[in-house]
Amino acid sequence: MQLQGKKIIALGERDGIQGGAIAQCTASAGAEVVLEVTHCFV
C-alpha cells in the first residue's frame, strides 16, 4: 500500500497518537489528509 497520493482519514486519540500527529506523518509520505479527528473516551 503506497501512501503517496492517497486521501487520508486520520483518526487519532487523545491518549494515543493525536490526529494532528498522524496528519503530519502521512503528509510527509506524500498523502493528502482529508479528515483529521481526535477522539477522547474519558
Binding site: R14, G20, T38
Partner: protein
Amino acid sequence: MQQTTVQPVIRGVRFFLAHTPGLVRYGSKPSRDIDRDPAVGDTLQAHLRGYADAAAYPPNQAFLGAIHPDALASLPTPWFRHAGCGERWGPHGEIMPEEEFYGWLKIADAFNLVSLDTDFIESIRPALDAHPLCTPADLEQLGTGVSQAELDAHCAPGTGLAGDMPTLPLFLRDGSRIGCFHAAHEVDATLAADVLLENLTCKTTAVLAMRTLLAQLPIDPMDIPYVLNSGEEAVGDRYQRGGGNLAKAVAEMSGCQAATGVDIKGFCCGPLHALAIAGGLVSARVFPHVVVVGGCALSKLGMKYRGHVQHDQPILEDVLAAVAILVSADDGASPRLRLDSLGRHTVAAGPSQKAIFEQLVKEPLQRLGLSFGDIDKYATELHNPEVTEPAGSGNVPLLNYRVIAGLAAMGKEITPAQVPDFVAAHGMPGFSPTQGHIASAVPFLGHAVDGLRGGDLQRVLLLAKGSLFLGRMTQMADGVSLLLERNG
C-alpha cells in the same frame, strides 16, 4: 508604590462524592441509547450497584482519603468485588447516598426546577437534619413537596411547567420515581431540563465540597473574597450559552457573603489553570485566599456502561465527584504552589505526546534544575482503569506514567530497563471517577497535601491535558502543569 509578592500555598483540599445510580440514565451516553431503545434502561438498572458497594469500593475510598492510592496496587482485582466495609466519611470528604443527594439538589435549587414527592422528602428529612453541613435554612428550602398525582401531571408529554419541553422524572436506583426536574423555558434548549439538571448537579456537588472544606479548615467563610469554578458545565441561556459564573452561585450557598468569583474553563485542565490563576492572585496580594472549586460532570455517568455490561460487571460510573481547594498566602506549613514551575503546552508545540510531555514535565524540571527522579509523585490523569479498560480505552494513568518514564529514559536519566520501577515508584494506580475535569491531577491533591505537610513527600508535579478539539474550534489539545513542594 513598591509591592512584594508572597508565596501561595495550598492550605487544604476536600472532595465530595454522591452515589447516584438513579441518575446514570441521564448520562449522555445512556440517555441517547435509551432514546433509541428503551430496553437499554432495564439493562442499565440491572447493573447498578447499591450504596454500600459504592462506599466500600476501594478507588472511592482512595478518592476520599481513607486509603492511599498506592494501596490499590496490592489489592486483589477486580476492585469492585472488594467486600470491605466502606465508611461514608473519609479524611478528605464523604460519599453521600442518592436519597440525601436529591434533597440537596432541591436545597440548591433557586428556581423551583426540582419537585420532590412529599413522602420522599419526609423520609430523607431526618438524615439531612443530622448532616453536619445542613442548616435550618437548608431544611426550609426543602419545602413540603408535591403529590405523585402532581408528578404524573408534570411528567406527562406536553403538560410540564414549560409546555412542550420535556420534564425529566427523577428515579432512585430501584426505579421508584421520587420527583421530577422541570425545563425553565418553553423553547430555549439551553434551559431544557436535561441541561439544567447537569448544571444544578454541578452546583450542588461543588457546594458540598466547598462547605466541607470551609467547615473542616480553620477559616471563616466570610474571609473568602474570591472563588474560581473550574467545572465544564455550560451555564447560561440562549443568548449567552455557557455564560457561566457558577463560582458565585457556589459562594452564595457556602456562606461566602464577602466573595465574588468567576469560572475558568479549559476542559480537563481547567482546575490546574484555575489553581495557577488562584496562586497568581494570592501571590500578587490581590486576595489573601482564593477557593478553586470543580463540580461534577453528570454527562459522564455511565459513559462506558456498554463495556461494563458486556463484561457483566457493575456500572462503575455511578458517582458524581467534586473538589474544593483553598489557596492562601504562605502560612509556613502548607505545601508551596511553585508558580515559577508552571508548564504550558503552547500553540507552537504541536500535537505529539512528546511535545506535550516535554512542555509539561521536562522543560519545567530543567528550568527549576530538577531531574525526573526529584519528583516523588506525578499526579496526572488518574482515571480508574477498572472503568476504562472494559470499554477498550486502556489504562490512562499507566500510559501517562510510561510516557514520563520514557522521557526520562530518552534523557538518559534512567535506562529503558528501569522504566517499570520508575512508573511504580513515581506513579500510582488510577482511582478517580471519570468525571471530566475532576479526574486530572486534582484527585491526588488531598494525599499530596498530607504527604507534603506531614509525610514523606518533598515534591509533587500536577499535570493535566485538555481535549480542546472536542469543541470543534481548534484541532489543538492543551496542557498545564504545576509543582507543589514541602514548605520549609
